[in-house]
Every structure is written in C-alpha cells, then in structure tokens.
Amino acid sequence: MAATIEDTPTTTAPQRVEGRRRRPGVGPVLLTTLAWVVAIGFFFPVLWMVLTAFKSENAAYTDPPTLFFSPTLEQFRAVFDAGIGPYLANSVGATAISTALVLVLATPAAFALSLRPVEKTQDVLFFFISTKMLPVVAAIVPIYVVVNEIRALDNIWTLIVLYTAMNLPIAVWMMRSFFLEVPGELLEAASIDGASLGRTLREVVLPIISPGIFATGLICVIFAWNEFFFAVNLTAANAGTVPVFLVGFITSEGLYWARLSAAATLAALPVVLAGWFAQNKLVQGLSFGAVK
C-alpha cells in the first residue's frame, strides 16, 4: 500500500475521473485558473529577483517597476569582481564534505536501527530527533568559546563538523525509512541461499536503497548550503560561505539592488535546482522520513 502512494501523486483517482467528467461546468476551469494565479503569485518574487539581476542599476530603481529592459551580465561580473569566488568554493566544500560524512555515518546507523535493530532502537531514534529540538542558539556560546580556544575560528572544518551534526539526525531517520522498505522475504531468501551479510547488503539491499541515499544526500545539501547562523558567527574572510558573502555585500553595496539580486540569485540557484529535482523527497527529509 505504502509503495503505491508515494511518488506518483495521482494514483488514487484514475478510475473516478469518468464519474466526474459528467458535468464539466466552469468550476474546474476556475479552480485551475486559481491554482495558476496563486502559483505565479508565490513564484513572482523569485522571478523578479532573477529579472533584477539582469538589469542595470537604473532599471532596477524605478517607480513603477520596469518589466521590459535590455538584459546585461554586468551585475554578475560585478559580483565575481567583488570576490564571491572563494565563498562559493567554501560553500561547495562545506556542503559536499559534510554531506559525504553524513551519509557515511548515517547509512550504517540506519541499518542498525532497522534491518538488524539494536535493543532500545526507539530510545536511540528518540535521542536523534531530540537533538533537533534543542535550539541551536543555546549551544552557540560554548561552541564559539571552544572553537576559539582550539584556534578553529574561520576554519572550514569547523563548519563541516557542525553541518554533519546538524544533518545527521535527519539522515538517520530518513535512511531508516528507506531500509524499512526492503522486503524481509528478500533478505530471508538471500540468507537461505547462503549469501554472507556483506554480499546481501551489496547485492540485495544497496540497489533498493540507493535512490534513498541519493535523496537523503540532496536534503543534506540543501540544509548545509542554506545554513547561516553558524557561518556568520564562526567564520569570516577565510572560511565564509555564500550567505556570509551576501550579508557582507549588503553592507558594502546595500543601495545597488541589481547587484544584490545577482548575488542572491547565485546564492540561491544551486539549491533551487537541487530542490526542484528532489521535490518528492523534500517532505520526507524535513519530516525525518515520517511522511513518504
């Protein structure tokens, strides 16, 4: 049952469409129009940000707002000239390495909480989710003091460790929900055939959960890329990530909307693309795998 529900959003209805088609009044058309209008309304600020990024500063500051203009790449050039490059590199590094670490730690842990469960599985799961409940702000003071003490301020590895800890509970819960989808009979069959545990994992379990590993990775990428609180408090010029750059850029270029929009577009783009790709998995990730 669960398997049929998840991705294809329309499975429940098909046989019923016939029944509904009997009276094709204006209602459906209105509802469809409404859905489109609302969607465009929600999306419009993003579209506007992207459009503004291609404007000249003069065109960005007009009342009424300018809709038609000759696009320019000048603003993006200015953003790169202002030195977004190293910050982008830091974001990529912190995101990629922390996500890899999360997957390496979470996959075996999720296995030990699902297919071959340890005793007290529930308690361990409860512990993992409870760490997400504690407000980050309550930990920032000691984290800052300790990081300062060990001379690790403005160091990319500090962010990597914190991002790994931040995403690990989500990843464990998510990966666990994927492990639970592996049919028990399949494992039994493999063990009857005399396959070793290692081989069973490699040849039976891994192919089934690999889409899950990928989805979990995407969710971790989104969170790590967007993280701001740790980054702004613990890094500066050396290890700063893109959000930190953006904040500094506002201080120096606050009045240049087109340039700011170009920077914001660059900051948001990778995650928006990743998220569009992983739409179906977003909810699963944020709900710790509770909802498919």
Binding site: A2, I5, T10, T12, G19, P28, A35, W36, F42, F43, P45, V46, W48, M49, P64, L105, P108, F111, L113, S114, L115, R116, P117, V118, F126, F127, S130, T131, M133, P135, V136, V137, A138, A139, I140, V141, P142, V146, V161, L162, T164, A165, L168, L180, G184, N226, F229, L246, V247, W257, L260, A264, T265, A267, A268, V271, G275, S287, V291, K292
Partner: protein
Amino acid sequence: MTATIERPSAPSGPPPASAGGTTTRSARAEGWVRRAPLLPALVFTIVVTQIPFLLTIYYSLQSWNLVRPGSQRFVWFQNYVGVFADSQFRGVALNTIIMTLGSVIIAVVLGLLLALLLNRHFIGRGVVRTLLVTPFLITPVAAALLWKTTLLDPTYGLINFVLSPFGASGTDWVSTYPLASVMAALVWQWTPFMMLLLLAGLQSQPGDQIEAARMDGAGAWAIFRELTLPHLRRFLELGIVLGAIYLVNTFDAVYMITQGGPGTASANLPFYIYQRAFLGFDIGQSAAMGVVVVIATIIVATFALRLVFRSFGAAGSES
C-alpha cells in the same frame, strides 16, 4: 482506519537468528556486532550536540564578559535572576511565541488551501507545484534580502506598487510593522512545505471511501469535514510540530530584515541571545538565557514529540 494506511507493515519482521541465546557471552557479542554500525553516528552526535549544552549550563553559572579578560567567576544563579528581571527578555520571548505560532498557523492554513487546490488533475499541475515549492528552496538569507528590498521597500517595493491603486502607497512596512514583515517572509517560505506535506496526506486518502460517501449523497463540505479532515489530522499535527521546530530557531530573517528593531520590537530569542553574546560579549548572561530557552523547549517538545511519535515515529519498528 488511519492506522492501516501508511505503515510499511513492519518489514523489520523477525530479528534474525539470535532467538536461541544459549550462552550470554555470544549473545553479548552479537549485541555488539549489531551496535557497531550505530556507534560512530551516535558517539559523534553525542559529542558535538550534548557537550555544548553541558558547557552552556556551566557558563550560565559564571559572571563572564569576553571584553574584560579575567572577569570570569562563579556566581551561582545570579545570571538567572538577571534573565527573569530583564523585561526585554520577556518581550522577546513573547515575540518568539507570536512569530513561531503565527507563522506556523498561517502557513498551515494557506498550505491546506493550496494542497486542496492541487489535489486534482489539471493542465500543468507539475509546473504549478514546482513554482509553489520554489520559495521554500531559496536560501533564507537571499529570501529575506528579497523581502526587505524589492518587496517591502517604501518607494520602489513591489508590494506598495501593487497596493497603490488602493491608496496604500508609501507605507514603510519594515519600520511600521516589523514583526509582521518578518512573519510575511517566513510564511512565504513555509507555506510551500505545508502544502507538500498536506498534499502527501491528501493523496494517501483512499479514494473509494470518498466515492462511497458521494454515492450516499454527501456534499463536498460534509466529505471534507467528516472524512478528509480527520484523515489529515496527523499530517496537520506533524506540520505544526515540524514548522514550530524549524521556525522557533529563526535567525536569518530577523537578522536581515529588521535586526530585531526598532528596539527589540521584532527580536526573537535566537537573535536576542546572539546580540547579547556577540555584540555584548556577555557569555554568562547569554548562556543563562540559552538554558531557559532549552528548558522551555524541552517542556513543549516532550509534548510535541509524543504527538509525532504517536502518529508516525513508531512506524515499522514495533519490534
């Protein structure tokens, strides 16, 4: 009914082998073999997330300002007395509650309406969903920047432009309604998440049930109230709990849009503690606030966690 739907029907099934357990030593070894894959993640999480909290408690009992080296000394609960005597702290705590609950509730209501709108076949549904999801994906710092400048700016902002036919031009939203401005950005970012979650809920509702009710002559509103809403209940609960977990930690939007101002009119606890720690360098005081926040969170969270666990958490691991 609700219980039978999305359980992946316990594939964790029979815990392999260990049933015999003749010698305790081999049973214990088996236990460690099972635990081994879990330990790296568990130890890492304990070290990185729990030690800071213990240190927070320790710091909260010190008078310690980073600007005055050597000022660190043990003062017992003096910081806590300071926290509760701080009227700003109380105002900020209230702001946090308003901001969190207000944004979550509005986002859930809007998300439910959108989910209902999208829970049918129409042309371009995939595109509509993709467009709707986008605000949630935008880097929060970039989203807050977008709201502060292009949307809410009194002269060149789009919102005033849209409202100008209604005579609302020139409103300086950010300084007149600071809390509402921050919440607008939060609602814009979180409505899509609620929509996705509730859409997943709607799609897990068995169609034949609705069909049967329609056969019996039930109207659309009655079906919604009597069947859909009860089915959605746990999804609504989950949305509220998760939204609250993430939103109570809101920092980016406050930092970017209002800097907590004017005064502390739109500051929430994360921002206020940040101010105390990194602008006031008062380690002891901010640690004490952190502890108070944690205790409050634990009280709310034990209740909230129980709710989530009852509905979802135990899925598949009844063993």
